[in-house]
């Protein structure tokens, strides 16, 4: 069995998947580190789920899915922030309510997709992604959105880190905690949108939380954690695409999903990071 099945480097869908998936992985990993520090994994997951309402609506009216995903995620981030709750329990509840309403809309739009356009595959591709079916035309806008998100993070790096570690100290130092929180949610929605389009809405949490959680167990400094998270994320996407491509040879004529391999790699890395830390402290 070959490590690189024939045609891996020349295939157009593979190249697109690697570029878009890699971009999504980098942005998700960077934003994910802050999300894990801030304890907002649920918000990250909810935004991705809610963005699927936009994705399914886009299928319905026939515009680019990315516009739908993006619009809905930013809108949901705005609604969550508008309620502006500081206590963690209450914040989770608001997130949950927005999530429930958003998924309700997804249900409705997907139902319309099925009845009016007879595309039964919409539910699967919106929720679980279809990486090898990404059109090459969206590479440029995707990378643009990703670069924008990274620029925002770079611009607010220090205040964001301070707010994430200790909001009270940040407030004393004159940081606008509310504004930083809103910016973080916006960047978060950009990041999850990118990964929702590649590995699907409900699995985009994998790229967001997995690499960041593993990296934070390994690194002591935030900068190092971000670097490690990016490496893990990129590695998972590349490995996932490669294995999925190879899997066409394992089960004749039927490939295994990319998303499965990406999640599997991330989970193994996360478990390994725990062992590595235990080995170091022992």
């Amino acid at each position: 069995m070959l490590l690189f099945a024939p045609g891996f480097f020349t295939s157009e869908p593979v190249r697109t998947a690697l570029i878009i998936g890699g971009g999504a992985a980098v942005v998700s990993a960077v934003v994910g580190v802050f999300t894990v520090i801030r304890g907002q994994s649920f918000a990250g997951h909810a935004l991705a789920d809610v963005s699927s309402a936009g994705g399914s609506a886009a299928y319905l009216v026939g515009v680019a899915p990315m516009l739908g995903f993006l619009g809905m995620a930013v809108l949901a981030a705005g609604v969550m922030e508008a309620f502006g709750v500081r206590r963690a329990r209450e914040r989770d509840l608001v997130t949950g309510i927005v999530l429930g309403a958003g998924l309700g809309l997804t249900a409705l739009f997907l139902y319309f997709d099925v009845t009016t356009r007879s595309t039964t595959g919409a539910a699967i591709s919106v929720m679980f992604g279809s990486m090898f079916a990404i059109p090459a035309g969206i590479i440029a806008p995707t990378l643009g959105v990703g670069a924008g998100a990274l620029l925002v993070v770079a611009a607010i790096y220090r205040p964001l880190l301070l707010c994430s570690l200790d909001a009270d100290i940040a407030r004393v130092r004159g940081v606008n905690v509310r504004l930083v929180g809103l910016l973080h949610l916006t960047v978060l929605s950009l990041a999850v949108t990118l990964s929702a389009m590649t590995i699907g809405a409900i699995l985009s949490t994998a790229l967001l939380i997995g690499p960041a959680a593993a990296a934070l167990r390994l690194a002591r400094r935030p900068g190092a954690a971000i670097l490690i998270a990016v490496i893990i994320g990129l590695g998972a996407v590349c490995g996932g695409v490669l294995l999925a491509y190879d899997s066409y040879d394992w089960t004749p004529g039927h490939g295994w999903p990319v998303s499965f391999f990406i999640v599997a790699i991330i989970f193994v890395v996360y478990l390994a990071s725990g062992l590595a830390r235990r080995g170091r402290t022992a």
Binding site: H45, R89, I97, G104, A107, L108, I124
Partner: protein
């Protein structure tokens, strides 16, 4: 709408609503919203796995919700709760994508499992749902005091010798069981909305725990009944109505807390 083929739907949906309303009270009180979302969503691949192996669907669901409970509580020992929940969820869903792609004929059922397809529930599904409902309600009533105490004042509970971790685990197991039962009939999204919306509204209406729990179950019942009726008339999916009604419940509850009560 009340014809014979709808009888099972009404019965099963009502039982699910009562269970969701009662467990939802503690979901809101204990702040385990993410777990309440992750368990149903992470459990639904169990149905795909069961269909792949050719075993009973309920069996697959219970196994997967058990995996979810173990994952959340085990990873939660070394990790923040929300991260542990997220990692458990993605791992189960990752397995789910694999099972779904291996059993291609199953993809039609995904929509129903995620968003609910309550119209047309068979009579064979009524009995297991009734039994598990009773078990879940009995467990909740038995554990009522420790659940309440550890949620409101964890220190006080610890002082009385109640292990917070054990109560957490017990509550997660109750959630998992309720999830496995409700999932095939109402879908992952519905279970979650039914748990969160009514309980959030009930909490605004009264400060007394037992009363709030009963209110929560009552509101959940009303919500499910109106959602089914609306869905029957409009042909739109039930999940849409439940999600929207849950958000409205929460909004009304918040407004009531601020201006009314």
């Amino acid at each position: 709408m009340f014809s014979s083929f709808m009888t099972n739907t009404w019965a099963v949906a009502s039982m699910v609503a009562v269970v969701a309303g009662i467990t939802g009270f503690f979901v809101v009180l204990r702040g385990t919203t993410f777990a309440a979302h992750a368990l149903p969503l992470g459990t639904f691949p169990g149905a795909a796995a069961a269909s792949l192996l050719g075993v009973n669907e309920l069996f697959g669901l219970i196994v997967f919700s058990g995996l979810g409970v173990i994952g959340i509580s085990q990873l939660g020992r070394h990790q923040r709760n929300d991260v542990a929940t997220a990692l458990t969820l993605i791992t189960l869903l990752g397995l789910g994508t694999l099972f779904l792609s291996l059993s291609s004929q199953y993809s039609q059922a995904v929509y129903a499992l995620l968003f609910g397809e309550v119209l047309g529930i068979g009579s064979g599904e009524v009995a297991p749902v009734a039994i598990i409902s009773l078990a879940v309600i009995a467990a909740t009533v038995l554990l009522f005091r420790p659940l309440l105490l550890t949620a409101v004042a964890a220190d006080l509970g610890a002082a009385r010798g109640i292990s917070n971790r054990l109560v957490d685990l017990a509550f997660l197991s109750i959630l998992g069981l309720a999830t496995a039962m409700a999932l095939p009939v109402v879908g992952a999204l519905l279970v979650f909305s039914l748990m969160v919306g009514p309980a959030a509204a009930a909490r605004a209406l009264t400060g007394r725990p037992v009363l709030a729990m009963l209110f929560s179950a009552g509101i959940a019942l009303l919500m499910v009944w109106s959602a089914i009726a609306l869905s029957y008339w409009s042909n739109w999916p039930v999940g849409f109505f439940v999600g929207t009604l849950a958000a409205m419940c929460y909004g009304v509850g918040r407004a009531w807390m601020r201006f009314g009560g």
